[in-house]
């Protein structure tokens, strides 16, 4: 299979001369099988570019499985601008965690509403299905077997392990590490003391993540911060490349993709981060790749999914 990165940025889009090479669109990754079936993970502004790319090539826009990690703006704001949403024959199946009593359809309606977008969900031409994701309960989407697991992020988020074409990848975004604090439903001004139950829950979260990434060919991980930045904002729900390597080391993972770059990280900073962690990864036996917009990354047997290359983003 192949992962194509349409948006790699965290928090908010960052157009401009300093982000041209790594990209300024927010989270959106396409996973494509050898035979051309695809799923899309997260609907940041990168999704709008994927929609234009599909439209330019007049590619089949029948059914789309869209898996959401959570509904923070940087993961959903591209949805109303995704061309297939406005095509009568398109069918969008949205898979997402339901973090409270609000029904999935109503959460998405609340996002794609007239007050925020020119076309609201109920006025879109495509038909929509909503599938609740339950951490630990496997499901199929397109050509892939999906295994969702819970992450440590404000108001809840899920990651996904994706198996297909005899290869595997995992999307671990957004998440804080699993030691200092436990994200729940309330707003955190800073780290709060952990109760015994909190500590146990953190251990469980970490254990289910470690289990899910066992032997993965490629793990795409929320490595938003540098170590210094994390020290200042540990309660914002994101990790560093060190957290990711720490967790993945010894789990049979072949490759780590740094993803969800902080908006203040210029191309020059990303080059430094890339060099630093490629080196650190080498020492641990993990190939480290820094995600950039347009990157098409073969996963598993390279011979069957082609070499790494860049797709021309419209």
């Amino acid at each position: 299979m192949q992962a194509i990165f349409w948006g790699v940025r965290g928090s908010y889009p960052t157009p401009g001369p300093e982000t041209v090479r790594y990209g300024g669109n927010t989270s959106c990754v396409e996973i494509a099988s050898r035979s051309g079936e695809r799923i899309v993970i997260d609907a940041g502004t990168g999704l709008a570019r994927l929609g234009e790319w599909l439209a330019q090539r007049q590619l089949d826009t029948g059914r789309f499985d869209l898996l959401l990690s959570h509904m923070h703006w940087d993961h959903v704001q591209g949805l109303p601008f995704f061309a297939p949403c406005h095509q009568g024959k398109a069918q969008l199946a949205i898979h997402a965690l339901r973090p409270d009593v609000v029904k999935l359809r109503d959460i998405v309606r609340g996002v794609a509403r007239h007050e925020f977008f020119p076309v609201a969900l109920d006025d879109m031409a495509a038909s929509f299905e909503f599938h609740e994701v339950h951490p630990g309960r496997r499901f199929r989407a397109s050509a892939f077997a999906i295994r969702p697991f819970r992450l440590n992020h404000p108001f809840g988020a899920v990651g996904y392990r994706i198996d297909g074409d005899n290869s595997s990848c995992a999307y671990v975004c957004d998440t804080a590490p699993f030691n200092l604090l436990l994200h729940k439903k309330h707003f955190l001004k800073g780290p709060e003391p952990l109760s015994t139950t909190d500590r146990r829950q953190l251990q469980n979260l970490r254990a289910s993540l470690v289990q899910a990434v066992q032997g993965c060919d490629t793990v795409i991980y929320d490595t938003h911060y540098t170590q210094d930045e994390y020290a200042r904002f540990p309660h914002y729900g994101h990790s560093t490349p060190d957290h990711a390597l720490d967790l993945l080391h010894g789990q049979g993972v072949r490759r780590l993709v740094l993803f969800h770059h902080a908006p203040n990280h210029t191309d020059a900073m990303m080059d430094e981060i890339d060099a630093q962690y490629r080196h650190k990864g080498e020492q641990l036996g993990i190939e480290v790749v820094t995600a950039r917009e347009g990157l098409a990354l073969p996963i598993g047997n390279a011979a069957s999914s082609g070499p790494m290359h860049l797709v021309a983003v419209p």
Partner: protein
């Protein structure tokens, strides 16, 4: 009076090498009077840069006072409110003016911070003192400026167009409006009458009004018609479509210039112009 363009894109941001000259950030403007009085228009992603720049102007130490006029609540005009750094610093005073259908702008903006979509959970968790005002048509008391608001139809949302005067100069910001098929909205023409600078959205070619119908926003010919009818001194096109590259925007500007008896420019991110 000066205008600085922090974001000139409409709909959603345009990131990438093809959008660098005009800029890819969504709507945000800063207006500065000769007296030093300042106001901002819209909270698109361009407002992130404005917020950072303001830290050096008192907002970094909680001594900032700012009025923000919203043209409407679509995300390309509001998305950066949770990322506008001055809202996190205690002591800053920020007044936001705008209008929505049910006269509860506060409640609509609160949805931007809802825990499903934003880790801040509520405007209550912002440390600055923020007051949200629902405007009606007519003049508004804002220090250092004479401001007039007019509510207009914009898709299923309500838009507000603004006239701002200071130092004997005037600008009109008309970027969230659906003009009737019969021609420019008379009330908007009246509001923009004779201004030194008209900022009007003109995202679409005169021939692509199917885009205008789906996404809203005006064609360049509509923008020119407003400018000519209102007798403005110059027209500046803004709210560029995210699919238009720098070269597309050059062509769109040329199309507008060919149509217009009024001088036309196209807004570029990072530019400051003297009105």
């Amino acid at each position: 009076m000066k205008v600085r363009f922090w974001g000139v894109r409409g709909f959603f941001p345009a990131a990438g090498a093809d959008y660098l000259r005009y800029g890819g950030n969504t709507a945000a403007l800063e207006v500065i009077a000769d007296s030093g009085a300042r106001l901002a228009i819209d909270f698109g992603t361009g407002a992130v840069g404005l917020g950072r720049a303001l830290l050096g102007a008192g907002f970094g130490v909680g001594k900032g006072v700012l009025s923000v006029l919203l043209s409407h609540t679509h995300l390309d005009h509001t998305a950066a409110m949770p990322f506008f750094v001055p809202v996190f610093i205690p002591g800053n005073r920020i007044d936001v003016y705008g209008a929505v259908d049910n006269n509860k702008l506060h409640d609509v903006l609160e949805l931007l911070f809802d825990p499903h979509v934003c880790p801040i959970n509520s405007q209550k968790n912002l440390n600055a003192s923020i007051t949200i005002h629902d405007v009606v048509d007519g003049p508004l008391a804002i220090d250092g400026f004479a401001v007039r608001a007019l509510r207009v139809p914009h898709g299923h949302a309500t838009g507000v167009v603004w006239r701002i005067e200071a130092d004997g100069k005037s600008i009109a910001v008309v970027t969230a409006i659906d003009h009737p098929a019969s021609g420019p909205l008379p009330a908007a023409i009246e509001l923009a009458q004779g201004v030194d600078l008209l900022l009007h959205d003109g995202a679409w070619r005169s021939t692509s009004d199917h885009y205008a119908r789906r996404w809203g926003g005006a064609t360049v010919s509509t923008a020119v018609a407003v400018a000519v009818r209102a007798g403005v001194k110059r027209l500046m096109l803004t709210h560029h479509a995210p699919q238009h590259t720098d070269r597309d925007l050059d062509a769109l500007l040329a199309e507008a210039q060919a149509l217009s008896s009024v001088p036309v420019w196209s807004a570029m991110e990072g530019e400051t112009i003297e009105v």
